[in-house]
């Protein structure tokens, strides 16, 4: 098919419009009248195009992600203290981090697949104010995105999930508060379907906690710990590329590890508030007076979380009103940006 030369470079030029005859209806026996055409979706007009597309679909290969992303790096360890998983691909690490550390409840160590589910969990399991309010109004939010229904109790919500949204009645991320997951007690002789496969979540995390107990003798004054290996900048890029999470942001200066920038204001306030512990217990644990309780922490790092666990306990003990507001997401490298007040000791 021959086209005029240089057609593809024709720029938009104001062209004089030819005069248009007034439109009149067609005269019999001629019936033509210009009209915009429409074909229904099953029309044979689309057959060739559809067939072509499906041939392509059926021919499609593997490995949709680009090869470069899958390139192996030298082995490295998960950066979270106490987590000894080793990786040789960034994707592997990313998935591990997202599954296990990203949305982890600091109080009970459970991991959640999304920030939304984690928030719901913290609210319903660890927020005493929630319990009070739930007595007066419907507070249990439906878990399905887009559904605004709220319920009086966890059970009512579950019934709704099962009836309306056709969720399984044993939906993993809607455990009622009292239930405890069973741990392995015996090896199964056949397929034991009653055994929940969250497997080592509790046991694994429990191990984490135990190994994370703060030992004063191992305190590190300078909390900075450089990321190991040549992948550091890459790793950081990956980490900071994803959404960081609710609440306080890690400082944007994360890309310059050598020059930690000042913390965002709220973080500083937080730490200032905690800078004046009223007592220091013999275990080296600062005990904060109720009015100095800054905010509840939701963290991904173990060192801080054990601390918070105790903070939580002291909160309840002191009978202070719950504040439960912004959370600090702690990423592996954020320690270097936290000015750790004296008296707080962390294993990094």
């Amino acid at each position: 098919m021959l086209l005029p030369p240089e057609l593809s470079v024709s720029l938009r030029v104001e062209r004089p419009l030819l005069p248009v005859w007034p439109r009149t209806p067609p005269r019999a026996p001629f019936g033509f009248s210009p009209s915009r055409l429409r074909f229904h979706r099953q029309h044979e007009f689309f057959e060739d195009g559809d067939i072509h597309r499906h041939l392509y679909l059926q021919d499609i290969l593997t490995n949709v992600t680009e090869v470069t992303e899958r390139s192996k790096v030298s082995e490295f360890c998960c950066h979270i203290v106490g987590c000894c998983q080793v990786f040789d691909t960034l994707e592997g690490y990313e998935h591990h981090y997202n599954t296990l550390h990203r949305n982890m409840c600091s109080f009970c160590k459970r991991s959640f697949p999304s920030g939304h589910l984690l928030d719901t969990h913290i609210l319903e399991w660890h927020d005493s104010l929630f319990q009070i309010m739930a007595e007066k109004q419907n507070m249990y939010q439906c878990l399905v995105e887009g559904c605004a229904e709220k319920f009086k109790s966890s059970k009512d919500r579950k019934d709704h999930l099962v009836k309306v949204h056709l969720y399984p009645s044993d939906f993993r991320f809607d455990k009622p508060k009292k239930a405890k997951s069973t741990k392995h007690s015996k090896p199964p002789s056949k397929l034991d379907v009653s055994m929940p496969m969250d497997v080592n979540v509790e046991t694994y995390e429990q191990l984490q906690v135990d190994s994370m107990e703060i030992c004063p003798s191992e305190s590190v004054e300078n909390p900075t710990q450089p990321v190991s290996g040549p992948i550091s900048s890459l790793q950081e890029k990956k980490l900071y590329k994803s959404r960081i999470g609710r609440g306080l942001q890690a400082p944007a200066a994360g890309r310059e590890p050598s020059a930690p920038q000042p913390n965002p204001r709220s973080q500083r306030d937080l730490l200032d508030a905690s800078r004046k512990p009223s007592q220091v217990s013999t275990a080296g644990t600062p005990h904060l007076a109720p009015q100095q309780v800054p905010l509840a922490f939701r963290v991904g790092g173990e060192g801080l979380s054990a601390r918070c666990w105790r903070l939580q306990a002291s909160l309840h003990g002191s009978g202070s009103s719950h504040l439960g507001l912004p959370y600090i997401p702690i990423f592996p490298d954020v320690f270097r940006y936290l000015k750790i007040p004296p008296g707080w000791q962390f294993k990094n």
């Binding site: 086209l3 001629f30 593997t62």
Partner: protein, 473 residues
């Protein structure tokens, strides 16, 4: 873009012929399915085991299918955690590439529960491997196997708001495969909130996730009940008011400019849906809202470039371009003018001797232009419309000839001297061929009596405003 599956056949003559035969079979099966409105395809993401250590494509060593006992043993070992779990699950996954193994697996009591338990565990590598197993199952051609994945859907949806690109992608493709499986699957997925869950994926900055999302949506829209249950939620008027038309036009312009560069295979797969979108938007019912207007002439250039580029290899694209061209020229004199001033009539005429549909549409576009009045007909005539028209008139297809007659009528109506030229080119003889065809005879006679009588060779005054003379019935 995805790369095509590397050939598993030897590249000798017999291999090539075999390939072609398989291709033809595949194609006719697809056509048959489409005519029965059962055209459905699934996608498979699978680790490429074809690559050797040096990165070259190697010979595929297919994993063997597993026996029922082997499957059972694997599952037990995984639960027990005796051996390295990931390896066990890998073995299972490889087995699940085979239909027999898939069927055996889903028939085993408790197997899906175990798999889903692994899929929802916190051990990331286990979870990923279990997800891959699920994906193989979702891709099965056996409906019972795919439907066995139903208990996993709530989790698949939950994980869409996660952050692991690879994992999210896998979940999306699994969902996309399940969605086309059956009514039953969709009846579960829709109340589970698949649409809001997908909407949250749109925020992702990762192309892989967006592509997977596109896949699920396109599969969802293929459902039989889509026109009543899903599509009504799409507000075309809102889309139009948000500027979707200009976005699509710019996209086409960009695609057209890509064609001049090094061959980018598969471009037609991107162009086709955009063409269809635009044509459909242009054909939106006026009563619903304001009529869509496009003003950018460069679109015309893009369309002709596409047609030239794809005429040999993918002729289906030519007819779809012409469809859009029709919708552009039907009402807008701007595009009719542009076709003339960009000197595209010769190119349009070259399309006349192509396939039936292409010929019909090209003739329709020419009619759209001719209908605009004498100035347009004059230019058409100058560009040698008549000789081409004589060729189409000589064909035997009733509809093609009929459209040619309509075009002739418009031409004579606005440009009486064209009738003289028609006569001098022996047009009458060609017309007479069809005077006994019931579909055509009235129009043939009308043309002859009105414009082609020897006595009427002296043209009707060009100044007369109403050029048409009503033919006697």
């Amino acid at each position: 873009m995805w790369s095509r599956r590397s050939s598993r056949y030897r590249h000798d003559a017999s291999g090539l012929e075999e390939l072609r035969a398989r291709r033809r079979e595949q194609e006719s099966a697809l056509r048959k399915a489409r005519r029965q409105q059962q055209l459905v395809s699934k996608r498979l993401l699978r680790e490429d085991s074809l690559v050797n250590g040096d990165g070259q494509p190697g010979v595929e060593i297919a994993a063997e299918p597993l026996s029922e006992q082997e499957v059972l043993q694997l599952l037990r070992d995984v639960q027990r955690g005796t051996e390295e779990r990931k390896k066990l699950l890998s073995r299972l996954r490889q087995g699940l590439q085979h239909k027999e193994t898939q069927q055996k697996f889903v028939r085993l009591e408790g197997s899906m529960r175990v798999l889903i338990g692994l899929f929802t565990s916190s051990m990331a590598n286990i979870q990923m491997e279990a997800a891959r197993c699920l994906h193989e199952l979702s891709h099965s051609s056996d409906p019972t196997v795919a439907e066995a994945c139903l208990p996993a859907t709530s989790y698949l949806l939950t994980y869409l708001s996660g952050h692991s690109v690879e994992f999210t992608e896998l979940c999306l493709y699994t969902l996309g495969n399940l969605v086309v499986e059956s009514d039953a699957v969709r009846k579960q997925l829709l109340p589970q909130g698949i649409i809001p869950a997908l909407a949250s994926c749109i925020q992702s900055p990762h192309v892989a996730v967006l592509e997977g999302l596109g896949y699920v949506l396109s599969q969802l829209l293929q459902a039989r009940e889509a026109p009543t249950k899903i599509i009504p939620h799409v507000n075309n008027m809102l889309l139009i008011s948000q500027g979707i038309v200009s976005t699509l036009v710019l996209l086409l312009l960009e695609l057209a400019s890509m064609m001049s560069k090094a061959a980018t295979g598969g471009l037609e797969l991107l162009i086709c849906p955009v063409l269809r979108c635009l044509s459909n938007l242009l054909a939106e019912d006026e009563t619903e809202g304001c009529k869509v207007q496009i003003q950018d002439e460069r679109l015309l250039v893009a369309l002709f470039l596409f047609m030239q580029y794809f005429l040999q290899q993918h002729p289906f694209l030519v007819q779809e371009c012409l469809w859009l061209l029709n919708n552009l020229t039907a009402d807008e004199p701007i595009f009719c003018s542009a076709v003339l001033t960009l000197d595209l009539i010769p190119a349009l005429l070259q399309l006349l001797p192509c396939s039936r549909m292409v010929t019909l549409l090209a003739l329709t576009v020419l009619c759209n232009i001719a209908e605009k009045g004498p100035a347009y007909c004059h230019q058409l005539h100058q560009k040698a419309l008549l000789p081409s028209l004589l060729s189409t008139l000589a064909l035997s297809d009733g509809q093609v000839v009929g459209q040619s007659l309509e075009l002739l009528h418009l031409l004579f109506l606005h440009l009486p001297e064209a009738a003289d030229d028609f006569l001098s080119q022996a047009g009458l003889q060609v017309l007479e061929k069809h005077q006994d065809n019931p579909q055509l005879q009235e129009r043939v006679r009308a043309l002859r009596e009105t414009y082609l009588q020897p006595a009427a060779v002296s043209p009707i005054s060009r100044d007369s405003a109403s050029a048409a003379v009503l033919p006697s019935s």
